[in-house]
């Protein structure tokens, strides 16, 4: 089976996962590594006035 498009990869991954739950371990690593990187990035970016600086950033992004 040749995987050409992003949807081919989604299909392939979901099929494998359906058959073998060990693949969830990779997914867990991906999720937790993203959370760690994001946490460290924003802690450094916003410093001690976390909430104040976070709200400034969120306003710029149109999230609040």
């Amino acid at each position: 089976m040749k995987l050409r498009t992003d949807l081919d990869y989604v299909d392939f991954y979901a099929e494998q996962l359906k058959k073998d739950n060990k693949i969830f371990k990779q997914q867990r690593k991906l999720i937790e590594s993203q959370l760690k990187s994001s946490s460290s990035l924003f802690k450094n970016m916003f410093g001690r006035n976390f909430v104040l600086n976070a709200r400034k950033y969120l306003r710029k992004r149109g999230l609040i």
């Binding site: 992003d6 949807l7 989604v10 299909d11 991954y13 979901a14 099929e15 996962l17 359906k18 058959k19 073998d20 739950n21 060990k22 693949i23 969830f24 371990k25 990779q26 997914q27 867990r28 991906l30 999720i31 937790e32 993203q34 959370l35 994001s38 946490s39 924003f42 802690k43 916003f46 976390f50 909430v51 976070a54 709200r55 950033y57 969120l58 999230l63 609040i64």
Partner: protein, 197 residues
């Protein structure tokens, strides 16, 4: 090899360990459910069932609640280490909520992940339908409510439609191919499309 999921008494049981993201969602739900019913929709439905992608927010819908209840919920969230993006003042946050605007909560000192807490009222037929017809998912001892899988797939394909949503829908179609039912797609389609009118 063990399969990724099984079904018992119509509950979908995902056979995997809990992630940090699951623990964050569970913590929020443990507080929310003291005051309101809820439904987790969108990205977390796909991610909790194995879709391998990152996310910043978890969408949780709930009916609009009265101010007194909201005050208690807000206070309890703050007491349990959450902060609200929109305001530190519950009255200000409630103004957003009662006007059917989302508000967001994250853990103190963190920006992501966050809960996008989405209120809805009786005018939204699709939201009311999915809310009243939940599917239960269980991962270890963590149980939570999502829309019927067929409903979630169609909502992503017909309403949201971004590349990410189409891929999420495809993941659900393939992963749950032995569970989903054709007749449910036919039943749910007009309900979902009714929100576009």
């Amino acid at each position: 090899m063990n399969s990724g999921y099984s079904i018992k008494d119509n509950v979908i049981i995902i056979d995997r360990e809990l992630t940090e993201l699951d623990l964050f969602v569970r913590k929020f739900l443990n507080i929310l459910t003291r005051y309101s019913d809820y439904l987790i929709v969108s990205g977390f439905v796909s991610i909790s069932t194995g879709r391998s992608r990152s996310t910043e927010d978890i969408d949780i819908i709930a009916p609009i609640m009265n101010k007194e209840k909201f005050k208690k919920l807000f206070g309890n969230l703050v007491k349990n280490n959450f902060w609200c993006y929109n305001s530190d003042d519950y009255e200000e946050a409630y103004e957003y909520f009662k006007n059917v605007n989302s508000i967001r909560f994250a853990e103190k000192g963190e920006l992501f992940p966050n809960i996008e807490f989405v209120p809805f009222d009786s005018k939204k037929r699709a939201k009311n339908f999915e809310f009243n017809n939940p599917q239960i998912i269980k991962i270890k001892d963590f149980e939570f409510k999502i829309p019927p899988i067929e409903f979630e797939i169609l909502y992503k394909e017909l309403i949201l439609k971004s590349k990410k949503d189409i891929e999420d829908a495809r993941h659900l179609r393939v992963f749950f191919s032995d569970f989903i039912k054709k007749e449910k797609f036919i039943k749910y389609k007009p309900i979902i499309l009714s929100d576009l009118k």
